[in-house]
Subunit: 249 residues, 2 copies
Amino acid sequence: MLGEQSVSASCFAENLGHLIELTGAESAALEKLEGRQRQLRRGAILLREKERGNELFILRKGMMMSYVILDDGSRQILRFMFPGDLLGSALIYRDAPETLCALSDAVVAPFERNLLVPIFDEHPRLAALLLVYNNIQRVALTDRLAALGRTSAKARIAALLLELRNRLRRADSSVTNGFALGLTQEEIGDATGLTSVHVNRMLRQLEQEGMIARESGRVTLLDENSLRREANYVNRYEGLDLGWLPSPR
Amino acid sequence: MLGEQSVSASCFAENLGHLIELTGAESAALEKLEGRQRQLRRGAILLREKERGNELFILRKGMMMSYVILDDGSRQILRFMFPGDLLGSALIYRDAPETLCALSDAVVAPFERNLLVPIFDEHPRLAALLLVYNNIQRVALTDRLAALGRTSAKARIAALLLELRNRLRRADSSVTNGFALGLTQEEIGDATGLTSVHVNRMLRQLEQEGMIARESGRVTLLDENSLRREANYVNRYEGLDLGWLPSPR
DNA sequence: CGAGAGATTGACTAGCATCAAATGCTGTGG
DNA sequence: CCACAGCATTTGATGCTAGTCAATCTCTCG
């Protein structure tokens, strides 16, 4: 279903454009990052942990995730990524700290990290926006940290469902309360620090309590308020205040 | 003990200077952020969650933490902060997403966030360095996420001990394997998602296994390799590759 | 010396993991 | 079109890790 959308010249510009109105010159500068394209099949690994690489990627179509595998073989999913998201840590590390993997068929635009230099040199407001974008991610990570450290299995799953719906909607405004989550229960478990067995039981419980409905991979949020209360959830794309940004150049 | 160190004109410049050699102009630009100073007593709250505020802070002396309190009253500590660290999320949010609290007597330099504008406008390399600094934090958070989601209580505590020692040493190179951790067991628990009771048992176990020694608030890492193996720990201030940064201006 | 905070210890419980088996779903080849 | 393989989901039985509750001990500081 994601395959048929029209895709703009720069998904990243469109994403950042949700935060603040970009100038033509700024959009043009961002477009340069998406000159190349690469198709990925569902399950394909774009970059493996500890692999060298100084490319970054903009996700243009589909859904991806990043994860790490620990010594005992268990996996922790760190982030889910949607169209318009910037992927990769080549900005700072020689060797990738996390694996990037496609959850659906996907399209990414790879680019060398030194392509960012002209953005810092010529577009201070975009540079600031990159920092803002990173900070949103950082705060979203702290929310998940609090969820894993201090909330119940049910709360973590409720939070994940809310987060996924919001992120999907951000990338595609036609998304409603019902959506295909595109994750197995094992993946949900690896994101929330649970086993797939327990994920199953908690989903069932949420269903029995009337908070969600499910049918063949699709989930519908029936009672968003209860879910939010259950989950302690905050949408970190709201409540922003970017009044201080430098002027565009 | 932190009280007697000499403090340079800009702690933040000194911190970033560990990443890359700064020019005089760059250091001078950063010094402007630390014009004012404010003393904090141990336990003092600098900024409360959900409070409005468009100031950021540079920590100049002492140790601080950020945390959130969940609906059920439980606390999750998100980060520990040391001299030279930049605190606060006023960069992006109107209302603080986390509480900032002093763990020891401390000194901070508060500054208005729009003081960052000239840095973005005139010092592209510093702007890039801010992004790098943020990314290091983001990756460190993903490490903790993986620890909370997928590792045992003992491993989380081992990881915390290693992290604290490394961060302390970064701020003060005279720190060795023995150090005063300056945290109660309850605080260790709130950082690792455990109860103080269980923290106590795990510390004891690490001690019995000869990995650490303890006496009245001080900890000594006796067997760093075992700890690292136990903890799956990676020092995220190493392995950096900043070769792409814009030229200084 | 007394008060209060933190550390320690023991007994018991609960939430989630583990193990195992059954069921359902999808795509593929005959 | 069916049979089957392979994966995901579902369910039950049981175990273990870490939480809860509560008492005691220690240390510091007025």
